[in-house]
């Protein structure tokens, strides 16, 4: 599957939408709306509301995350915002401030 990659020196101020995978090494401010996976790589900074199927964070996210399948906060990640997803994983070492809503499934 083709992937969109936002390089480490790139800053996007606005909105990204689409239905393929996205990897963020750089900075995105605004809004991200995907039907697929997003990975915020180590060093990546997202100051945006994220809606995607699977959200994996190694870097920094300031904004709410809505993952229709899974939100995965990896050990190095820093997240400030609310997470809404049926499956939320917070790894040991991750820094998180916000609320988690796994819905009524559990």
């Amino acid at each position: 599957m083709a992937n969109t990659v936002i390089g480490s020196t790139i800053v996007i101020d606005g909105e990204i939408s689409g239905d393929e995978g996205l990897v963020v090494h750089g900075t995105v401010k605004g809004k991200i709306d995907l039907a697929e996976k997003i990975e915020v790589a180590q060093g990546g900074v997202v100051e945006a509301t994220i809606a995607a199927r699977v959200v994996t964070v190694h870097g920094v996210v300031a904004g709410d995350i809505h993952a229709s399948e899974r939100a995965d906060l990896r050990p190095e990640s820093q997240v400030i915002g609310d997470i809404r997803s049926p499956r939320v994983l917070i790894a040991d070492g991750a820094i998180f401030k916000g609320s988690v809503d796994m819905g009524n499934g559990g």
Binding site: A2, V5, G7, I10, I12, G14, E15, I16, G18, H25
Partner: protein
């Protein structure tokens, strides 16, 4: 150029992706999808076949195979390849429009005109 695809910071806007807003950076960018917002790069911009850019572009150099509506300014060179379509003004020291490309707009190569030509224009 050694395998740019292996570069971890290689930047690509994929086929089924849309970016609305300003995009700023210091590296090369490949657009296969759609960008609606200004692009400012100190690197090379490649607009692939099928890629659409509806905005002003300011880059080091640009190769256009796709569709651009907006002004393109490059510090080094702009090449419009066969099959590409560009509506807007071009500004760069070197501009190439290849056979089969569609272009509508102004071209400014910022040249020192030969004396004779300059006098002719002055009239």
């Amino acid at each position: 150029m050694v395998a740019p695809a292996m570069n971890p910071s290689h930047c690509l806007i994929g086929l089924r992706m849309t970016v609305r807003g300003a995009l700023v950076g210091e590296e090369d960018l490949v657009v296969e999808g759609r960008v609606e917002g200004n692009i400012t790069l100190s690197g090379h911009l490649l607009i692939a076949e099928g890629g659409v850019v509806e905005s002003d572009v300011e880059v080091e150099s640009a190769d256009i195979h796709g569709h651009v509506i907006g002004d393109v300014a490059a510090a080094v060179a702009i090449t419009i390849h066969p099959g590409a379509s560009v509506h807007g003004n071009l500004r760069a020291p070197r501009i190439v429009i290849e056979d089969g490309a569609h272009f509508k707009g102004g071209v400014d190569m910022d040249v020192d005109l030969p004396e004779g030509l300059q006098r002719a224009r002055g009239r």
